[in-house]
């Protein structure tokens, strides 16, 4: 119906966005009937999302006309932002930003480099940036989930960790079960994605390729490759992030400093020696 009133291009896109916006707002208004107030949150999120995505689209338009190395800068900026967002979710964990950033750079960065080198990801910016951004975003989510779970596990088991330390255990030994739990917890959504692939949902890249006229079988296989890359990047990120945060949970004098309320850090209990 829309194509009768709008020509293809930006005006058609904006009209499509406007209709989806109305649909999303209708949900928020409907929720009011049950005293669930989502209006403000929904409106802010929708407007913010629209502005962000249009801004990114505009920037990409400029970037795609520039030299190839610009994609490296774009991906690096995305990783930096992802580190910040993941760290916000892991608030209270000492050095969460650097740990998240290092985890994402290691996880997503390694997979992007390897896959571009082997030719799985096209090195053209039009392919590298969108696929790279998917790997970074998924690594960010996995890293944040793993961090959050690690904090919860350590805080819930601080008594056992103290008991193990008091018996002369190395800090790494005392949190080993929680490192494992955290990596697994972070990866659950990625495993579910792999399990439901093609059965419950047809993911974005595959849908986009089919819409743009690609062979559906090739689109499906490439989609699998992307999901597998996401799993690899997220897995590496979860492992790296949790192993890195493991050291920050303890002071140099091997005292547990990641505790409920995290009061210890403010007390100068970063392991410095009293004089």
């Amino acid at each position: 119906m829309l194509d009768q009133y709008f020509e293809e291009g930006l005006s058609l896109g904006l009209a499509q966005a406007a209709i989806t916006l109305v649909a999303a707002l209708a949900v928020a208004l409907l929720a009011r009937r049950w005293e669930i107030h989502l209006e403000r949150e929904t409106l802010v999120a929708l407007v913010r999302g629209l502005v962000q995505v249009v801004a990114v689209g505009s920037i990409l338009l400029l970037v795609f006309q520039g030299p190839g190395w610009l994609s490296v800068i774009v991906l690096a900026a995305m990783m930096l932002a992802a580190g910040g967002i993941a760290a916000r979710r892991a608030r209270g964990i000492p050095g969460a930003f650097w740990v998240s950033l290092q985890g994402i750079v290691f996880g997503a960065g390694t997979v992007i480099l390897l896959m571009t080198w082997t030719g799985v990801i096209d090195s053209e910016m039009q392919a590298l940036i969108p696929v790279g951004s998917m790997l970074i975003a998924n690594s960010m989510n996995t890293g944040a989930l793993a961090l959050d779970r690690f904090r919860a596990e350590v805080e819930a088991h601080s008594g056992q960790i103290d008991a193990a330390l008091a018996l002369g255990a190395d800090p790494a030994v005392t949190v080993a079960p929680y490192v494992q739990e955290s990596v697994q917890a972070g990866l659950i959504p990625r495993v579910d994605t792999l399990r439901s692939l093609g059965i419950v949902w047809i993911p974005g890249i595959m849908a986009g390729m089919i819409l743009s006229g690609s062979d559906p079988v090739y689109a499906a296989v490439y989609q699998f490759a992307v999901i597998a890359m996401i799993y690899a990047a997220a897995g590496l990120t979860a492992v790296a992030t949790t192993l890195l945060i493991r050291f920050r949970a303890f002071s140099p004098a091997q005292q547990l400093i990641l505790r409920p309320g995290h009061e210890a850090m403010a007390a100068g209990e970063t392991g410095q020696v009293a004089q």
Binding site: D162, A163, L165, A166, L167, E269, G271, A274
Partner: protein
């Protein structure tokens, strides 16, 4: 060599100098200077919030002092490797905090950290000392509170500590079990001539277990000496 050994033997096994700890500007322990002789059993007493457990956690460096230090056998404990220090200064906490799995796994945990594997006979002997002979294969989730605390004591003894720190080990137990565990501690501490510091809120227990008492108030040391002198004053 003999002279050095003699001077070491005369040195208190544990000495604190101006020991203190503050958290977010709140002083938990302040300026505690004491000397604990070998085989001394010291009860740390004082009202709730006096800093008893905080002091104990400073003694094996589970928490970091913000002032002063502790000397173990004449050596500043900041120069010792934390893991080695904590094996020498063992600690039993208020709750057993057992690791999931069998009793045996818990008993073997400490020695395993330094690459030592206890013989089955050693595990049985440790369990017999806490009156839990035959419990090695039992899952810790099936133990009563008193049994769990006994395993916790045996687990600490498996490291053969020179100093034993007990942080209200009977406070979470019912009255009868409390007395049983207390008798057991008394037997172990006095029977083996261990140096021991026990936090307790129970003055009668301090009389029954300890030769000396250390009285804390608002984190400060207000009395240290023979139990009768400090607690009956």
């Amino acid at each position: 060599m003999t002279g050095e050994n003699d001077s070491r033997a005369s040195e208190p096994i544990l000495r604190t100098k101006d020991l203190g700890r503050a958290v977010n500007g709140t002083r938990l322990v302040e300026g505690v200077t004491i000397a604990i002789e070998r085989r001394q059993v010291v009860a740390i007493v004082g009202p709730s919030g006096a800093g008893k457990s905080s002091l104990l956690r400073l003694l094996n460096r589970l928490d970091e002092p913000t002032s002063g230090t502790v000397y173990l056998d004449g050596h500043d404990y900041r120069e010792l490797e934390p893991q080695a220090l904590r094996r020498r200064v063992g600690m039993v906490m208020q709750t057993a905090n057992l690791f999931p799995g069998t009793v045996e796994r818990n008993i073997r945990f400490g020695p395993r950290q330094r690459g030592e594997e206890l013989a089955e006979a050693d595990v049985e002997e440790l369990l017999a000392r806490v009156e839990l002979a035959g419990y090695a294969r039992r899952d810790v989730s099936r133990l009563s509170g008193g049994e769990a605390q006994r395993v916790s004591i045996a687990r600490t003894l498996a490291n053969s500590p020179e100093v034993l720190l007990l942080d209200e080990p009977t406070s979470s137990l019912d009255a009868q079990t409390e007395r049983e565990v207390e008798d057991l501690m008394c037997e172990i501490v006095h029977g083996q001539g261990l140096t021991c510091l026990i936090v307790t809120h129970d003055i009668a227990q301090a009389h029954r277990l300890a030769s000396h008492a250390l009285l804390l108030q608002d984190g400060r040391l207000v009395g240290f000496g023979p139990v009768e002198e400090v607690l009956d004053a």
